[in-house]
Symmetry: C2
Subunit: 334 residues, 2 copies
DNA sequence: GCCCAGCGTGCAACCGGTTGCACAAAATTG
DNA sequence: CAATTTTGTGCAACCGGTTGCACGCTGGGC
């Protein structure tokens, strides 16, 4: 059995309270007993049981990290940054993989049973209502990469997807492309809808530019490749805005293996600027999403909510920008 | 405040014990009271506090999932499979990112403070002594993707890296290559050492075949590309066995952008068979590592250890096989 | 109608900590 | 040096559950 308070108290010749206090920040203990206790604790290898103390303090330092996309490599970067950032602040991520619908219904109960101090929903595909259910249950929640609305129910940190859609359209139009297409991620995802909306908005107000759109089944390589294959069987547009980098890379692969050239025959712009987009053999022109900022801001926000759970919900949006690589014709070629 | 046992007991008109027993498998409660309790619990939205019960039962259903590689996309697949598999068994993964040395020293304490029921160390680069420290502290541990030794201190699930090295060498030799090279991951990683050992063993016993080797700094795209660039500045070998797929893909990128052709000028074989290796624009010939089997076996093992923490340590090794794609000359061309 | 087995229940102690409160010891003040 | 404040400590109750034990009740066998 593990070493407990009592063991240390006994060895140090003090009460259990004294031991507890030596291990609590700001509690009143004399230097003398603190030393005694620390000595005894060190000899026994004592560590306070975080779970037991959570019972009285009401704090577990556990943060639920919920995601539903374990097939998009950008999420490895996301997990890396989240886990590092949380760890630095003494918080522990309890990971929840929502691969199935039924997991989704369970997630709230599960995280409540473990009394997590807060939850980060890292997904651009889960509906806002999902994040809201945590808030309704009184669990501090931040929806990272979520939808920005004018009257948010929960804290949202991410980008303005509508604006990204506009940016993509403007960029393609500037380069001289006139037959544009949007190849989105899952149709139901808010990120897909918003990106499409912004994209179409610009095209509608630009004479002489046409637009089509379609959707891939998920944010994954295979879905992107399959969807592009399907499009190539007909008459594809000149230039595509793909809902996401991994989708773009799948599409890129389909275009190249069909014998067409990128960007000469088909041009592509992605969104995210994941590590891989910069790889020499991919060289995807894409819209950079500042995931570092999004994640550190999300963490700051969830930390702030630990002290003030009823903090008024806010949306934090970070600007994106185009990263020029090799899948669009240079502007000069106009 | 959340609903507790007491609230439910009060409402159902029974003792707290009765409520507790209704929610414990196999406890003795009459059908009548169980119904009453369930009704009251449903009305109040009661969920037992998993952490509180862990105090007496000694079980948290928390499993530490420790890794140090958040830059190799294969680990996204690994996390996906682990989280799904653990969730299916009612276990929750507490994720630990060992990006820094100091995290490593803390990890054991941290996971003990949270009384995890077991730990999975998912890494081929952490030293065996790391996993052993958990065992020494009485925490059930499985080292997935770890080194297989003849006298293991802890449970190891993975592949025989030495045999993979042999397999790579045999494959390259069969294809007619004579100037072989090993481009490993971090030199200190046991997986690197073992793969090299097997590789050299076969070459030593095959007359007329030469061998060189070098190491990339980490298992990552950039490290692979940089190392291959360095090699291309000199006189590169005909055929490379790269320590890992992501390394191979980096190397592939360096070869192609230097103007050389794959496999005509430089041939490559990787290891892992990650999703990306099969992408059309990569098409890496590689040795398949059965990660699904490794992970589900790791989970089974950690589950088995919950009941029998002193289970005698075993090594579970799964066979690998070559997956033919486009980075080696076909055997027929001999 | 009596005896005993067995089931179901509640009491109370316990898991490993925290914390309000009362009180003793030490430090400060005049 | 007495009076007063400050500081430190231990007691005991509590957090939200679990569980050994004793006891009451029911039902079956004779």
């Amino acid at each position: 059995m593990a070493i407990t308070l009592k063991d240390v108290a006994l060895r140090a010749g003090v009460s259990r309270s004294a031991v507890s206090r030596t291990f609590t920040e700001g509690a009143s203990v004399s230097e003398k007993t603190r030393k005694k206790v620390q000595k005894a604790a060190a000899e026994l290898g004592y560590r306070p049981n975080a779970l037991a103390s959570s019972l009285t303090t009401g704090r577990t330092k556990l943060i639920g990290l919920v995601s539903d996309n374990f097939h998009n490599p950008i999420f490895l970067e996301v997990f890396d940054l989240f886990t590092k950032g949380l760890q630095e602040r003494g918080l522990r991520p309890l990971l929840v993989n929502l691969s199935q619908q039924k997991d989704r219904d369970q997630a709230l109960h599960l995280l409540r049973q473990y009394s997590v101090d807060g939850v980060i929903v890292a997904s651009s595909t889960l509906p806002p209502s999902f994040a809201k259910s945590f808030r309704d249950a009184g669990v501090p929640v931040v929806n990272s990469f979520g939808r920005h609305t004018t009257s948010p129910d929960v804290h949202v940190v991410g980008i303005d997807n509508v604006e990204c859609g506009r940016m993509a359209a403007r960029t393609l139009i500037e380069r001289g492309y006139r037959e544009l297409a949007f190849m989105g991620g899952p149709e139901a995802a808010t990120s897909t809808q918003d990106r499409l909306a912004g994209f179409r908005e610009i095209i509608r107000e630009t004479p002489g530019v046409s637009q089509t759109h379609s959707f891939a089944e998920s944010y994954s390589f295979d879905a992107g490749r399959d969807e592009m294959k399907r499009l190539l069987a007909g008459t594809p547009a000149q230039a595509f805005f793909c809902g996401d980098d991994v989708l773009s890379i799948g599409a890129l692969s389909a275009v190249r293996s069909s014998g067409l050239r990128v960007p000469e025959d088909v041009a592509l712009i992605g969104l995210n600027d994941m590590e891989m987009a910069g790889w020499d053999n991919i060289a995807l022109t894409t819209i950079h999403q500042p995931i570092q900022q999004i994640i550190s801001s999300s963490i700051e926000l969830v930390v702030a909510m630990l002290d003030d759970p009823d903090r008024y919900p806010e949306a934090r949006l970070f600007p994106c920008h185009v990263v020029e690589r090799a899948t669009l014709q240079p502007a000069a070629s106009l």
